[in-house]
Amino acid sequence: MKKFVNDPKQFVPEMLKGIALANPGLVKYVPEFNLIMRTDSPSSNRVSIIQGSGSGHEPAHVMIVGKGMLDGACPGDVFAAPPMDYVVGASKLLNSPKGILHIVNNYSGDRMAFEMANEMLDADGVVVKTLFVDDDVAVQNSTWTVGRRGVAGNFFVIKAVGAAAEKGASLDELLALGQRVNANTRSMGVALSGCTPPAKGQPIFTLAEDEIEMGVGIHGEPGRARKKLVTANEMVDEMLAAILSDKKPTTGDERAEPIAKSGDEVALMVNGLGGTPISELYLVYGHAHQQLEKQGIKIWRSYVGEYCTSLEMAGLSITLSRVDDELKKLYLSPVDVPVRVF
């Protein structure tokens, strides 16, 4: 394993320290809870929005704390949900009279940690609602899973509720808005390589020189199938087919309509998993864009880059998120967060 690391156990704290040093005035770092929080939060005019999740997905979520996005992120160690007391501690520091929205990617570990934390926060009279994100179509719902996984699509959920919170939306409004975005967002990923958590020191999985993992999870969970490497266009076609044909279960036996049909407008995201250069992401974007337009789906805006990664994993995910006039406005509203170019 070759990485820029000192003590592997201090990997996450040292990264968090760097984020805070790089963005004074914007965010601060609370070591006790692995917490990166806005310096101007909590605000009595704004619901506080908190993400937990594991580390290793940067810029999600510690680098998207700031105006128009998150009030705080308190990740666990690499690929591990935060322990309960990070969530409790972060929520107490960020408690707002308008309430707290927890955004939780739908993994058992995250769900349970937030659930336990919420039992404790309830007891202390802190008002919390929880928004689950489960945009990944790779894991088909079935009786034997705990539902779908939350992956890069959470960017759209956070962007929408972050912008709305800034405008003073209530906790219930944010919850409803977030659920709507989540329902309109579907993702699918593919890995060309594994990645190595610093504390583990070994790749979480290994692929042969001609193998890919189609439908991979952002913690390296195996996906739909291990397959032979094919061309970029063939991989894109398979991912788009999975996304466009998906009928996400809603309540009971019901299933949602496919995410987009001819005439619909979408945001199209090509998200790098960490080790794939942006040149390849744009190559993939070009093909995906043309394939969707062929089907009459209109691309409203592109999102190409790294949004939710798996350390240095080579691979990418494609996300389609259906937009309407309200969402477009929210997506274009201003932000001020650590991850930026200029």
Partner: protein, 223 residues
């Protein structure tokens, strides 16, 4: 054997902790096959913390020890394992209450409460290919040996045998909870990391009990 319930509780907890710490890599590797490979690390980091903080715990009664363990684990360990194991210790401790000495019935009730807590927290049940599939039958076996008047050592040995058998029995199953469940049918044929941990811990507790009995009695006969 002349140990108090408090001493026994401490022996059991410390044996669990040692097992978790010593098997960090092994458990992580098991979880790595179809899961995400963090299980061993999560568990070890929590129990390491526990060992560090051991002297600061309220160790006035079996219940207070278990609650202390619960808080360390739930607070320090992220995700599923922190929540599940934390809940299990919490419920067991709550069931023990303030009692200084625990009966065999108390122990069985504490284990049952731990199971109920984990099921609720994990929204899981027998058959999901989780540690419950090893833990519940092992607990039942312990209860039945106790009910039949067998020795504690015999009960522990038979419980650990059952746990170990179960790890093999569930191996071909499909995982329905935890990250392994995302792989669907690809999870068939690999061990469930949590169940293996239960089996190894049960075996280590039985061994520790045997050693403690030997040294307590000055000879080979355990009560």
């Amino acid at each position: 054997m002349d140990m108090t319930s408090l001493e026994i509780t401490e022996l059991v907890v410390r044996t669990i902790a040692e097992t978790a710490i010593e098997n960090e890599i092994y458990f992580a590797e098991l979880d790595g096959v179809v899961g995400d490979g963090d299980f061993g690390i999560s568990l070890a980091s929590g129990f390491n913390k526990l060992v560090d903080q051991w002297d600061t715990l309220d160790r006035s009664s079996p219940g207070s020890v278990l609650k202390g363990v619960s808080m360390v684990i739930a607070s320090r360990v992220g995700g599923v394992s922190g929540a599940l194991w934390g809940t299990a210790f919490l419920r067991a401790g709550a069931t023990a209450g303030a009692k200084q000495e625990l009966t065999r019935e108390d122990v069985v009730a504490m284990l049952a409460a731990a199971v109920e807590g984990m099921k609720k927290r994990g929204q899981s049940d027998l058959g999901d290919k989780t540690l419950l599939d090893a833990f519940v039958p092992a607990k039942d076996e312990l209860a039945s040996v106790f009910a039949g008047g067998g020795s504690t050592l015999e009960a522990l040995k038979r419980a650990s045998l059952v746990a170990r058998q179960k790890t093999e029995e569930i191996k071909p199953w499909i995982a329905k909870r935890g990250r392994a469940s995302y792989t669907g049918e690809r999870s068939c044929g690999s061990y469930d990391a949590g169940s293996i941990a239960i089996a190894v811990m049960a075996e280590r507790i039985a061994e520790a009990w045997e050693r403690a009995s030997v040294s307590a009695n000055g000879q080979g006969s355990a009560k």
